[in-house]
Symmetry: C2
Subunit: 353 residues, 2 copies
């Protein structure tokens, strides 16, 4: 199979959040809270972003949703992961049983959790928290042929949009599970951001030095094989994964709905990269939650000019970093909504120099 | 007044948390959770620390307490702050009315909040959340004489211990409010860690370049005046503040009680510096919550070999950074307590290379 040139996909319309008048009112409100100007640091910019997303001087974060997209990757046949492919389906079962890290953090923070079978290479038994949207039993081996066909890529993007359309609330966190997916993310980073494979390729779930060297070689072959897949859609189909494609669609739809999008680590970042290449203003709705320890994520964030909230050397995926950062988003909303102003509290301002 | 050489203070006994057998069991538990080894990054070391503090493989964080120590500083007469001294008492009133940032974050995270009058330069009306433990109406001007007498220093340290002794629960977050207290913290950092005043002195609540230069000059005079106050107790009395001294006592007592101590930013860090100089093992119980944007905090953390959880350009104090980091402490406990292991979840481990 070769990738047909006919891949088309019409992303949803996403309005930029810019609104000079509202921004001015929000900044005034932030600056008159009982604190030195700027003293809440990154939370202040976050509060401003939330206000612009919600078109309001008061933030209401409602029914936050965690969606984990799971899929397998044909490239695992090349020995690019420290864990066997079977772990994808095993970890999906673990999530549905409530035992994964993402379950712990979702319970802690009151997120509803759904798992989407985007393309796991196994039949999955029905479960109330599992959405069956399998595009195929894993992608194809990117060293041999495109990871997915045009139809599959379009189907995955559309499924991601549909998943979000059905969600309540105005906050969506997106995560993933898929043995081999740091390879797909590294390939997208190399292709769409021009980052070298040396800088884009990391140890994933725990490769040693020799395995890492092999992974780089595999990815170099894959990248060369699909040298013609340069646009974001073509790169996504040739090099990506079903979970990445669905997250891309989900991010675009969430932004079109004016939801707050919590972006997790390297793999979710690769989806953000594709979404941003398709519709730059999608980034207005994204909160970049953490800087992963996985090699490549720093370069990815730099390309997107994104400054994440946390840097805790995480490299787990699942959406774990997104949920760990969530309380900071709530704190940003909380200070904007609840703190007293200098005027109402009777607190003196700065003295004249 | 000159500082008498008779300042003695017997800190409580603090046991180191080291326990090789327990550490090995905890590490085994952490490593067998359903995630790649080390994939939860900083949370893994935090879980280990919590387990060692609590002498258990299961963490129980109970009735977390936020205590804000408020005091005034005689050095404000030298024009070292962008805000007038009256703001200390105004902000105490704001906290007691529930309108400050620390109130918002305490409500968000379920912390009981108390404010301690450690030495505010005003009479404070009684309030159920206010503990009257005023040592004096502010410290003296450190450019002219020691900030406090030996008796005052001892009284403040003891009061801090007593405040913690009366608290329920096993988690204490310590914060402060005090116009001028970045000056006291910078002096302690310079004296106890050998950091230059250029590196230790920052803009506090918002000094401009000229005011910052003046502040450095004031602090240089103060440091020279008290050149003989080299030990931690002598430095604390000569250069410190009542809120810093009480936090020092509170940290020592909390560690002696085997409580988890959440350390906020630059001012709380200065108290940690003094406490650590008195009893090094106090650090075992400390969770360093964030790296402040205030100049000097990075050097302070480096001196203590402490790696904070957050770096959000905060420079507010009050304990705000401690509470913002709290959910991460809960997450560390949560994954240790609740995540499935590879064995119980039926997830395959790493494949042999």
């Amino acid at each position: 199979m070769t990738l047909s040139a006919d891949l088309t996909f019409t992303p949803p319309v996403i309005a930029p959040i810019a609104d000079a008048a509202l921004q001015s009112r929000l900044q005034h409100k932030i600056d008159h809270k009982t604190k030195p100007a700027g003293a809440l640091g990154r939370l202040e910019g976050l509060a401003l972003q939330l206000g612009l997303i919600q078109r309001s001087e008061t933030i209401a974060l409602q029914q936050p949703q965690m969606v984990v997209f799971a899929a397998d990757h044909g490239v695992t046949a090349e020995g690019v992961s420290a864990f066997p492919q079977a772990v994808t389906v095993q970890m999906v079962a673990n999530m549905l049983a409530g035992g994964a890290a993402i379950n712990v953090f979702a319970r802690q923070h009151g997120f509803a959790l759904q798992v989407v079978d985007a393309g796991v290479a196994a039949d999955l038994p029905a479960h109330p928290q599992l959405q069956p949207r399998k595009v195929a039993w894993g992608t194809r081996n990117v060293c041999v042929e495109p990871a997915m066909s045009s139809d599959e890529a379009r189907a995955a993007l559309t499924a991601g949009m549909q998943v979000v359309q059905a969600l309540p609330g105005n906050v969506v966190a997106l995560g993933e599970m898929g043995i081999g997916n740091t390879s797909a993310a590294a390939l997208l980073l190399a292709r769409l951001a021009g980052v070298s494979l040396d800088d884009a390729t990391g140890r994933g779930t725990g490769l040693d030095d020799q395995q890492l060297m092999r992974k780089r070689g595999v990815l170099a072959r894959a990248l060369a094989r699909h040298a013609g897949a340069t646009g974001p859609l073509q790169a996504l189909a040739a090099l990506g994964g079903f979970e990445i494609a669905m997250m891309t669609g989900a991010m675009l739809q969430a932004a079109a709905d004016r939801r707050v999008v919590l972006v997790d680590g390297f793999i979710a970042g690769a989806a953000a990269l594709v979404a941003h290449a398709l519709v730059p203003q999608v980034k207005d709705y994204m909160v970049f939650c953490h800087r992963s320890d996985e090699c490549g994520h720093g370069a990815l964030l730099a390309h997107l000019k994104a400054e994440p909230l946390l840097a805790l050397d995480l490299r787990l995926g699942e959406g774990s970093g997104a949920l760990l950062a969530w309380p900071l988003v709530q704190s940003a909303a909380g200070f904007l909504n609840e703190m007293a102003s200098f005027e109402t509290a009777g607190v003196s301002g700065r003295q004249e120099g």
